[in-house]
Symmetry: C2
């Protein structure tokens, strides 16, 4: 989004609609994991720290609905279900990995900012919240 | 994040910690808006469609704490409060704008995928959710 685009509410809404999906942390982790190859449900469950079975199911269904992931069922007993990225999902990996790389590179600066903020706030007497 | 990094839980957690903040839709919109210049609280409130005063306050404080935004109070009556991006915030704009541009370019594909999914599901008889 160029600055000029941010003044166009319709365009901005389109971008936000996609970003708010890819921005939720489970979706990002799952897309990045599937970037390393096809995975079964339980592999994803084990790899995504702290995700519940229900949240993983909901998130995968959202990613499938938005066209980032395909779900393939094999008629075995018990049925085998595999998830993999579509072309769209693989293309999404590019800007996501750039954001992830930025986050890794700058994590220490964010942590330092938080410490500075929390220390400062101990002596902060700020006026009304909004003005 | 390169695929190899995604197998390192510590690194992945660091990236997720940043992404889960920047991924929330208000934060992204506010950082992008502030990318066009310094703004007052009410300017942001008007520009960010659907945000409540409370959510805007909470989001700005989170962005300030993480070092993306500074808040400057001018001792006027009534006090004037301005928000602007820090160097870190301006650097974050680069991968965010890349993601935003991707989202804009591919919005139609996501919408088409949703329509296909919702149509297909009308006749879908899928087995157990997870396998």
């Amino acid at each position: 989004m160029k600055p000029s685009d941010s003044r166009d509410p319709g365009r901005c809404q389109q971008a936000n609609e996609v970003i708010s999906l890819v921005g939720d942390k489970w979706s990002v982790q799952i897309v990045v994991l599937l970037g390393t190859g096809t995975k079964r449900f339980m592999e994803l469950k084990r790899a995504v720290d702290g995700v519940s079975q229900k949240m993983l199911t909901v998130t995968l269904r959202g990613l499938e609905r938005d066209g980032y992931v395909t779900r393939t069922v094999y008629a075995t007993v018990p049925p085998k279900v595999e998830y993999q990225l579509t072309d769209l999902g693989r293309e999404l990996l590019v800007p996501l990995q750039a954001l992830g790389a930025w986050a890794l590179e700058n994590h220490a600066r964010v942590v330092a900012a938080r410490i500075a903020y929390d220390t400062r706030d101990a002596v902060d007497t700020r006026p009304a919240l909004s003005a």
